[in-house]
Amino acid sequence: MSRLSTLLPAMVSAAIAIFCVTPANAYMAYVTNEKDNSLSVIDTDKMEVVKTVKIGQRPRGIVMSKDGKWLIICTSDDNDVKIYDAKTLEYVKSLPSGPDPELLTLHPDGKRLYIANEDDNLVTVVDIETSKVISEIPVGVEPEGMGMSPDGKVLVNTSETTNMAHFIDTTTHKTFDNVLVDSRPRVAMFNSAQTQLWVSSEVGGTVAVINPADRKIISKINFAIPGVEQESIQPVGIRITKDDKIAFVALGPANRVAVIDTSTFKVLKYILVGQRVWQMYFTPDYKYLLTTNGASNDVSVIDVANQKAIKSIKVGRYPWGVVVSPN
């Protein structure tokens, strides 16, 4: 017993020493800066920007290839999608997309990329290896949000002026259902159990939770923040914790992220972040949630367990999209 108690501190300090040499969570976060035509790289261990590089014009939606090697970015004003090497940040190639690509999502097969083309009411499907267009799917006016079911069978696209969530079968690439939601739907997000699909409506100021099995709306979530005018509550980005228990919803110019219980659909709290908060991304360990704050040019870091904003990291102008490397 006494031998153990003298050994323990030594073991602990040894463990700390090892931990310091090889930090367990040195993920890299990549933030697209819409106004700067640049990409900020954040070391989530140091919580600071370690690199900024110029990329294509008006970068917005960003995803990472399954193996973490490529960054795939919508460069909207170049009317294409560009691939960069995640390590060297060197340009690899461009993918054909329709005009003005905004948001994209990668199929779990790691190959098929689905791109929303706001300008011609289409979702374009591209093979990222061969760079070939596989299919074009007609959807509503101004397609935007792209939510892929975790099993890869269903893609949900939202159209901003049609105000619908379009359910697309990823085998046939045909729409099989359309659910009307509130004005200007922006983001669609499945939970990992595939029992809920969350859709944010920016102008309607609500979030609809849809049952993917029968496409019925289970709940419509409203927001009210004391001292914040109702018009500035504009839900956009959505992220759901790995255990499916908590959803985070970015509320745009309300400068807050709502924390929502996914079983009761009650808002538990509002976390104050930077201005015009839009997109969000978890670190792979789900410890932190990073938010892009367009109007204040920074990224807020939310401590997921404590539901608190713990840091603000200055990035480029009008940060828009964010993704974190899986390793």
Partner: protein, 433 residues
Amino acid sequence: MFSVSTSTIRALAPAWLSPRGAASFLVFFYAAIAASTGYAAAQNAPQPIPIPAQSEQAQQSIQILYVKEDREREEPPLSLLDQPSPDDGIAGAKLGIADNNTTGRFLNQSFKLDVLNGNVDDLIKGAQEKLAAGDAFIIADMAPDSLLKFSDAMAGKPVQIFNVGNPDDRLREEDCRANVMHTAPTRSMLADALAQYLVWKRWPNWLMVVGPSQNDQMLADAYRRAAKKFGAKIVEERQFKVDTGNRRADGGFEQIQQQIPQFMQGAKDHDVVLVVDEDEVFGDYFPYRTWVPRPIVGSTGLIPTSWHASLELWGGTQFQNRFKRLANRPMRAIDYDAWLAVRAVGEAASRTHQVDFKTLRDYMHSPKFEVAGFKGVALSFRGWNGQVREPLIVTNPKMFVSVSPQQGFLHQFSVLDTLGIDKPETKCKAYTQ
């Protein structure tokens, strides 16, 4: 869970369709997808692909009529860039129809636009014929008195008129009509939008130059009201009566270069020159020709408007692009106002899953109604006079400057009601009867 069986596909059909109807809906749906290839298809072939024996259930259609009064301008606008186009307003309505049809193909609804030009009596006669054929929603671009004559001729009939051609406050106040809604902003809304920006900017001292027309007098009243409402001061008013001559005279600038500074001489200290020239016959002569260097605001320079061709915020880029592809010109405010009227009808149809006149009319008038219009917030209609409730753009000729309501101007119910005549002040009785 996501297996796509026939039963899941059937979920496409709205709830009001019977199982038999759902099957025919399916056929129509894929036919419509195949047929929809851009605006040409949407405009020229708005009718569904006929499905024998079942077409009755397969399609719901809504017809919208655009009536445009032939109005003679006394003088063309000063700048060649501002010359009107014969399809002003109509092109915006066409875009609204195309947008509604893209949505409609998922809901089994189709929209069609009819257009009539002529004098007010022709338009009344034509609209009555069209009404018999099913055009219950009418977008009207006509002079104030013509609009009153037109709406009174339609009184008692199942008709909803949208005013896109007039900013006159009286049409929403003492002369309001129960069958007219307004997607054009009022003079008082426009004046308030600019006034809020100037007050926010701390430029509260205005030198107001007012033109000779009756419209100018009414707009000047709106600015006097706005100054009082938001704590600005009109330090001096000058009536502009100088005859600047024909716009297209070869030359003339030599004299204008002398006339404007002389006219502006000896004014009291001011922060901005507020030019009130609704008919655009002299205002554009003011920038860079004033006696003391001051910004020009009002009818030229920094102007308030419901829309501007440079606006790209709130997803506006795609909207502008769609319009340019359709009309081969930039979008004007009246195009936006007409688009909004068509979208309001479309929004009511998609929210209610109905096309019958009364359902759509009542829904648009209800507090539940809202529609997105590329302004960042939901737009709706004021319950006391049918005026659209919307943010207004404050812009220079080339570039968006700001949007009003400005930060810090508060309201008990909606900050959008800080623009224009508010409920407690309204003189409209037709809406409460």
